[in-house]
Structure formats: C-alpha cells, structure tokens
C-alpha cells in the first residue's frame, strides 16, 4: 500500500526533558494521538503524557504460573507415572521434595517471559526504523530529547503539523523520511 503522506512524520528536538514533556502535553491537548517521544533516560511522565501503559506484569504472571505448573507437573509425572522409584520408603508423590525445583521453574519461566514479553511489546528486534534517517537523532542516546508526530495520525497535515510543532521551544523540527 502506498503511504498517504510522503514522509513518516515530523521530529522535534529538545534541549531538556521539561520542554519535551510540555510539548507532548500540548500535542495531546491539540488532539494528536499517534506520537512517540525519545529520551536518553526513562521518563515515566512522558510515556503517560503520550498515552502508554505497560501490560507486561500480566504476561509475567502468566509465565510464572505456567512455570509453576510445568515444574511440579514434570516432577509428579516422572516420579509417579514415568519412572516410579522407592526412595527411602517415601510416597511416590513426595511433594515437599519437589518444591525447590517447582520454585526454580517458576522463576525461570517468569524471567524469560519478562524479557521476551518486553522485547515483543517493544517490537524488538527491529533492524530498520525511519527515525534513524534524521542525523540529529543519534543524540537521543546521549543528551537530547525528541518528540515525533507520525503521519499516520488522523489529525496529521503536511503544513499544519509542521507549523504546530514549530511553536514549541525546540532546537529543530525535521521531516522523517520513510
């Protein structure tokens, strides 16, 4: 499908986090919904200002619960059904001995789902992204703050959005080519 606009979006560069936060709030108030902010440090307020919340805790909870069931179930099946052994006259389902490995499997599955879930929710690994076409963007991982309004935004207009973003106290407003 041919993109509706010749560019991916507009990118504004800011000197500090406060100015970025202010710009994000103003864009939100002006009715923009599809935007992204880039910061060298985690800034929770910015994520909330542009409307993001993480659903990761649920993924980790499910992963941990699965690990718990798989861990205990594996030991139960092996000890009772797959390969029953009499160890010191204990019952085959000697569950107190199974607690340690059940715990370890719970942690292992939860940790794996935290990492894989984080990567999946973030769409990583992603080899190409248009924002890297703006040369100034390499400072996003050093000391500059960026706000991008995407062309996908319903309120986006080639001229109007650029003029709107130029009202911010930004160092630069640049086009982001596809």
């Amino acid at each position: 499908m041919k993109p509706k606009f010749p560019i991916y979006g507009y990118l504004a560069e800011f000197h500090d986090g406060e100015k970025l936060l202010d710009a994000a709030k103003r864009s939100r108030a002006a009715g923009y919904t599809v935007m992204e902010a880039y910061t060298p440090i985690p800034m929770e307020e910015v994520a909330h200002a542009i409307g993001h919340r993480s659903s990761l805790p649920w993924i980790v909870l499910c992963g941990g619960a699965l690990g718990c069931v798989v861990g205990f179930g594996m030991q139960y099946w092996i000890s009772v059904v797959g390969y029953p052994l009499n160890i010191g006259g204990r019952p085959l389902n000697s569950w107190p001995s199974f607690i340690v490995i059940t715990f370890e499997m719970t942690i292992l599955f939860a940790a794996l789902s935290a990492v894989l879930g984080m990567l999946w929710l973030n769409g990583l690994p992603q080899p190409y992204h248009p924002v890297f076409n703006v040369p100034a963007f390499e400072l996003a991982s050093r000391n500059r703050f960026f706000l991008m309004i995407l062309a996908r935004d319903p309120k986006f207009a080639m001229e109007g959005t650029r003029e709107f973003m130029q009202q911010f106290d930004a160092l630069l407003v640049a086009e982001v080519p596809h």
């Binding site: 800011f14 000197h15 500090d16 986090g17 406060e18 992204e36 902010a37 880039y38 910061t39 060298p40 440090i41 985690p42 800034m43 929770e44 994520a47 542009i50 993001h52 919340r53 993480s54 990761l56 805790p57 980790v60 941990g64 030991q75 092996i78 000890s79 797959g82 390969y83 160890i87 001995s97 340690v100 490995i101 715990f103 370890e104 499997m105 942690i107 292992l108 939860a110 940790a111 794996l112 935290a114 990492v115 984080m118 990567l119 929710l121 973030n122 990583l124 992603q126 080899p127 190409y128 992204h129 924002v131 890297f132 400072l139 996003a140 991982s141 050093r142 000391n143 500059r144 703050f145």
Partner: protein, 469 residues
C-alpha cells in the same frame, strides 16, 4: 552558611555524593563510552590479558588431561570424595551472589549508590557462575554424559530422581545462570544503543547495532523496559537467596556430622554475600584507579560496601559460634567430635586461619579511618576472600575425612592438578572480566544519567579524565 567556601577536604564529614559534582548527561555518556570506543587499547590491558590467558591455557590443559585420565588425577578418594572441586564450586557461586544482590535487592530498596557498580557486579556474577559450573560438570567423571542430569525422554527409559538435593542444585544453578545472563543483557540494551550511536567505525556500529536490537529510547520502550527490569529484580531477589540455600542443602540434607544442621542455609547465604562484596571491592579498587573512575565509584561506595562486608561478616561469625554451640548442646558424640576435630585435629591450621580471616579481620572495618583507606580495604577484602575459601575447605574436608567409621578415616591432600584447575578458573574469571571492560560499558550509562538533571548541557570544557595510556 560558610560551608560553600570550605575546602573539599573539610566537607568529607558531610554526606558524600554517589557521583562527583559537575557531571551532565553528556559528560557521563562520553566518559564511560570512551573507555570502550577509544581507538588505542591501553598497554596495561594487553599485559593483563596476556597473564590471564596463560592461566586460561593452564585451565584448558588441566581439563583436557582430566578427561583423558579421569578424576583420579585429583586428590579425592573415599572417604573425601569432595575436595577442591566442591570447595571451589561453592566459593565461586558465593562470589556471584553479590552481583545479584547489588543489581536486584538494592534496586528494589531504591539505593541510588548501586548504579555505578551494578553492571560490573552483574558481569562478575555471570563469570563467577561460569567458573563454578566447571567443577561439578567435570566432577561427575564423564562430563560428556552430564546431560543425563536433565529430564529428557531417552531410549534408556530412565528419568532423574527429584528427591536428591544434587538435582535441585542443577536446576537452581542453571536457573541462576540464565536469569543472571538475562538481567545483565537487558540492562545492557540501552547502553549498546548508545555505543551504536557513538561508535566511529561502521563495523562496530553494526556489531553494537545488532546487539542493541534496534533500541530507540522511545517512551513506549522505556515504559515496558522499566517494568521488565523491576520485575526481573523482584524475581532475582528470592532466586539469589534460594540458590545458596540449595547449595547448602547439598550438605544439610545429608547425615554427615558438621553438615546436617539447620543453620546451614542462612549461614551460607550470608557468607555468599560477604565473599561477593569482598570480591566486588577487590576488583573495583584497581579498576577505578586504572580507568580513573573515582568520579563514579566514589569513597561513598567503598564505605557502604565495607559496611555490608562488616555486617555479613558478623552473621557468618554468628554461624561459626552456633555451629560450636550446637555441637556441645545437642549432646551428640559425633557432632562434638566433629567440632573438636575441626579445632584441634589434623586440619586445625585451616580452622584457625579461617577464624583469623573471617572473624578477626573484618573487625577492622569498624574504624572509619580504615574504611577511608583504599589500600587497607583492598588488603582486608583479599583476606576475606581467602577466609571464605578456607570456610568451604573446613566444611567439606574436615567432616568427610573423619566421619562415623574410624576404619575409613583418611587424609585429603590436593594434587598439583587440583591447584592448576583452581588457578585456571581464576585466570578465566579475570580474562572474561578484561574482555568485558574492553568491549562493553562497565558502568551502566543510562542509569548513571538518571542521577543528574535531565538537560542536554554540553560539556563546557573537555572532560579532565583520560584513560591511562
């Protein structure tokens, strides 16, 4: 107030900062990434790698010869079937614990001072666990069949026996290694993106770019990332306590005098933290000097770590006292014999060296003057590491050499191959650590950035710090 006019030396009594003043987002990023991205590798680094690789070669040689000849090469036999191999395994695993403690527990407790040492301590954990893993893997005798420890469907129709603490250990240590590696890599992702954006050569841009997985520092990224990091810390905290507990079960669940005690799990965990912090200090002191990182790893860090060593050292001493008390109070003749044998038997020298290293030495840390003297701290930490090695030696060897049957009593003497393998793992540890500090940021850049105001000030003057030539 006149304090602002005072000389810096006079302010030492006031609260000391976790990062020296005058830093901004830009200076932190530049100074830490320069260590990795500089073109010229310091000569000292090559010398250190050269020495470490000699020891790595010794490790490889002793492992290859061990596989050819079998574990009879070591000094182990009945009744002392666990010698240097298990002593070293427990020692290395214990050292790893401080890394997880610093990165996870101190994160949950919101201790900002952890930020400049956590990356480095996590790497130490990872390498210590690798060194630890070598010992039980080769101690099984036929390491090419080590996968029999894992539950997998096989043509023999045989499955592992889950009531054995040795199998619990397999799961605990492999989970610990996996989670430590995940935690470390996740922590590295934003810094790898920084290196990608700052590397000058295209090849390194590609390498760091691939490892950074396309990280852009987007608000959405950070939101999920921070959640994941916090959850991992929450998961790693009970895990780290469980790992050394399970290691102690290898001893406590058996019926050997001196091993079969409920004090073992807490005493092992405290000992692990104690030795781990001592190792962090032993490594951090020379590295901060060599790479001139005193602005980031300040005296405040050393002071806090010294206090942690003192506190955990006291818990360990309590463990020794309780061990002796139980032996007397329980009225069990084997237990009583065990403690008398430890104190006055053939291995008495190791017990009293242990008491000198672990009970006497850390008491010097009560003194503020000693906590402020970097050479004194280094010496104390090395002694603590020796002491914790001796502790495992005392536990493993003295109990086995004199168990229930006097007819089977024997003396354990390590062979030169035991010593070569041990020194070899120390070489491997140092070698991996040197590679790490050359190619990856040893201090977490993005977490250090959170300690300064969020503004894009450019450095007014070129940073005074240059890497030592």
């Amino acid at each position: 107030m006149q304090t602002s006019k005072q000389a810096p030396g006079l302010q030492e009594t006031a609260v000391r900062p976790v990062i020296e003043p005058g830093h901004s987002l830009a200076t932190i990023t530049d100074q830490i990434s320069r260590i990795v991205l500089q073109r010229r590798t310091p000569t000292g680094w090559f010398i250190a790698v050269g020495i470490a690789s000699l020891f790595v070669m010794m490790l490889i040689t002793s492992l290859v010869y061990l596989v050819i000849r079998g574990v009879g090469l070591w000094g182990i036999n009945e009744p002392v079937a666990w010698g240097f191999d298990i002593v070293n395994f427990v020692w290395w695993i214990g050292i790893g614990h401080a890394g997880t403690l610093i990165s996870a527990v101190l994160l949950l407790l919101r201790q900002a001072w952890r930020t400049s040492i956590n990356r480095f301590a996590e790497a130490m954990t990872l390498f210590a666990v690798m060194c630890a893993g070598i010992f039980p893997l080769f101690h099984v005798g036929r390491p090419w069949l080590a996968h029999w420890l894992l539950p997998y469907p096989n043509t023999m129709g045989v499955w592992p026996q889950f009531r054995s603490p040795l199998l619990w250990d397999v799961f605990a240590v492999s989970t610990y290694a996996t989670v430590s590696a995940l935690f470390w890599y996740v922590g590295l992702i934003p810094d790898l993106a920084t290196l990608r954006d700052r590397a000058r050569s295209l090849a390194w841009k590609r390498v760091y770019g691939a490892l950074a997985l396309g990280w852009r520092g987007a608000a959405r990224h950070w939101e999920h990332y921070e959640t994941a990091y916090l959850l991992l810390a929450g998961l790693a905290t009970p895990l780290v306590v469980s790992v050394h507990t399970v290691v102690s079960f290898d001893f406590a669940v058996s019926v050997i005098p001196g091993w079969h005690a409920t004090i073992m799990p807490p005493y092992f965990v405290a000992g692990a933290i104690y030795s781990g912090f001592a190792m962090v200090m032993t490594l951090a002191i020379p590295i901060r000097k060599f790479y001139r990182l005193e602005d980031f790893i300040t005296m405040k860090h050393l002071d806090y770590m010294a206090k942690v060593i003192l506190a955990t050292g006291l818990i360990v001493c309590y463990g020794y006292a309780m061990e002796a008390f139980f032996a007397w109070y329980a009225g069990n003749q084997y237990e009583r014999f065990m403690i008398i044998n430890r104190m006055f038997g053939q291995y008495a020298w190791s017990y009293w060296c242990l008491i000198a290293c672990n009970l006497v030495t850390p008491q010097f840390l009560w003194s503020k003057r000693i906590r402020r003297s970097v050479p004194a701290l280094l010496v104390i930490c090395i002694i603590v590491n020796i002491g914790m090695w001796l502790e495992r030696f005392v536990i493993v060897v003295t109990s086995l050499a004199r168990d229930y049957l006097p007819s089977s009593w024997d003396v354990y003497v390590p062979t030169r191959w035991d010593i070569a393998l041990y020194l070899g793992t120390i070489g491997l540890f140092v070698f991996l650590l040197l590679l790490f500090i050359r190619f990856l940021p040893m201090i977490s850049i993005f977490e250090m950035r959170t300690l300064v105001p969020a503004t894009g000030e450019e450095p007014v003057k070129p940073p005074k710090v240059e890497v030592a030539p």
